[in-house]
């Protein structure tokens, strides 16, 4: 999962990015509205965390312009908790609204819910064959046995499972699982896929040569 954070408070931006990375997300950051809007318009993020008060272009404007082209789930961060602000945010096209100061676990849960909903799912638990993925607890079990995965491996499995039955291209995987600082030329993806196959069975991920990877959906 790849997330964009647009926040002008450097200390907050840094710690948010770090925390989300540690949660297994690929994280891009933008410290002003202009950069944020550019990134949001040009990449397919799984979610955008958007501060309202931003230099150059404010959060409302970014949201308004972004909504013309993209349906990316947007979570607004704001220090204003007037009901009219919330209403305005949700009406402008925000998918969720979190008031500062917030607790990180809550922010994470809301992000997960956002991503889940945008993938058309209502439950935290995804089943693919005998593999069960609990996106809430970020745990994977196979045949009832918990399987330990690294954060990146988990993110890969979750992304493929959320798009079960679809062929996901390598480009899409790179876009969603790696942030802009990581090289897309490396064979990092192949290494992760191979590790996952060792843990969850070789048939769990099917390779469509020249197209990408696929989980479930009858191969």
């Amino acid at each position: 999962m790849r997330i964009l954070i647009v926040e002008d408070e450097p200390d907050l931006l840094r710690s948010l990015a770090q925390a989300l990375q540690e949660e297994g997300y690929a994280v891009d950051t933008a410290a002003d509205g202009e950069t944020g809007l550019f990134n949001a318009q040009n990449y397919d993020y799984d979610a955008v965390v958007l501060d309202v008060m931003l230099p150059k272009v404010d959060g409302w404007e970014i949201l308004r312009r972004l909504r013309k082209t993209k349906k990316t789930p947007v979570l607004m961060l704001t220090a204003r908790d007037q009901p009219r602000d919330r209403v305005r945010g949700l009406d402008t096209g925000a998918d969720d609204y979190v008031v500062k100061p917030f607790d990180l676990p809550e922010l994470f849960a809301r992000l997960r819910a956002l991503i889940r909903r945008s993938a058309g799912r209502t439950s935290n638990v995804i089943t693919a064959g005998d593999v069960v993925i609990d996106t809430g607890a970020r745990q994977i079990s196979r045949g009832g046995q918990a399987v330990a995965l690294t954060a990146r491996e988990y993110a890969l499995v979750e992304f493929l499972a959320l798009h079960q039955g679809e062929v996901v291209t390598r480009t899409a995987l790179y876009e969603h699982l790696f942030d802009e600082n990581e090289s897309t030329l490396s064979n990092l993806l192949d290494v992760h896929v191979s590790n996952i196959r060792k843990k969850l069975g070789a048939e769990f991920i099917t390779t469509r040569r020249g197209h990408g990877y696929c989980v479930g959906g009858g191969g």
């Binding site: 002008d8 200390d11 907050l12 840094r14 220090a79 500062k100 607790d103 990180l104």
Partner: protein, 519 residues
Amino acid sequence: MIFQSIRWRLQLWYGLVFLALLAGFGGTAYDLLRSLQLRHLDGEIQRRMVPLANSLRPPPGGPRFFFPGGELTNSPGPTPGGPRQDGPRMGRGGRRGDQGDQGGRGGDFPGGGPPGGRGFPRPGEPGFQFRLPADQAALFGSESNSFYYVVWGPDGQELARSEAAPHDVPLPVAAEAAPGPPEPRMRGVFREVYHATPGGAVALVGRSIAEELAGLRLLAWELAAAGGVVLLLGLTGGWWVATRAIRPIEDISATAVKIAAGDLSQRISAADTDNELGRLAAVLNSTFARLEAAFAQQQQFTSDAAHELRTPITVMLTQTQTALNRERGAAEYRATVEACQRAAQRMRKLMESLLELARLEAGQETLQRVPFDLSKTVGDCVEFVRPLAETRRLEIHCAVPALPCVGDPERMSQVVTNLLGNALEYNQQFGEVRITGERQSGTVILRVSNSGPGIAAEDLPRIFERFYRADKARSGSGGHTGLGLAISKAIVEAHGGSLEAASQPGAGATFTVRLPGAG
């Protein structure tokens, strides 16, 4: 209690006044009619009394027969038996008994005059016979509603009565005692006038006025009914008027209730402002508007203050929560603690600024009152900000003559630093900051202008507001609390001076400090 409402009270008072007026009017009308009828009747009765009384022959030299308006009194009228002629003759006729038979002839006098002969027996004396001329006797009918008369002698013995006279007509008591002019009285349904002649005889003429009384009773009922209808109509009209008069008050009260319930945007609809209520509504509306504005400003301030505090708290929360999520190296913990420290310092600065502003605005901040030279303060401040100007490649031109004034040099240095900081901050590259000063008739003027982009016209009136930022996004960053200009203005005003801003967009901004000069 519904009856305590103004409308009900108005209605009650109005109803009472109206009722009193109607009752007064009805009563007066009834009384007028009644007395008119009675007067007419009394006239009729007295017309009949005259011949009666004349028949009773007053004694010579006695008080004259007096009828107000009576055609026979004192006048040498057509009646031959008038008292004037009678008087002297009666005097001679005082010798009783000598002309006893003439009483009988008297009745044959033409014109209804009493017998004027002398020597007639007086009433009550033996031989006296009461006679009434036929044409005058015809005035007294035999019907139940016709006039009747009764005549008593001085001894109270009834001398004569007409046919229609009721059997129980009593001798008027007052008449026995004092002879005098005719007195009317009511006796049941009978209107009677009695007259005690000076000779002691009493004549009474009366008539049953049962019909008239019935008519009057009917009239009274009609008046009462009409009055009731008018009262009802009047009360309905009064209710309508009261409702109309009360409606604006109810509007005002309903609006006030809504406003009291928290909806400050409500206004009283005052279509017609040119009356008392309209003016009240206008006054209330302007009060509500000011209340709403003050409330909105207060709310904005609270919201802004909360906003300013929330950001550093968020930083501390996310920093610490992230750091505690797992084991970290010393460098990471250090970075976290440093970030927390920055956030805490920011909060402290905000708190101090807020408190300072609150004290200044409440007039609790004690300012020094010492003579000092503002130009020297400016010089110090320029030196203080020069490194910042150099890093931004900005020129500072300072040409300030000596500006002696009285006040708190430290506070004024805070103001000048704030103005210089803004002038540097909101500037263009290679721009300049110009500081000039002058003295003008006891006032010290200091101007700080820059070559920056200036202040937009819509921002200009608001830049001294707490937390107001022309650039919305500068929130908190760069150590700005958004209170600098508000504090500066408060400090200058606490010195009895003023701080104003002027700007031409694109041509920089000028802040002008005016202080009362020393000496």
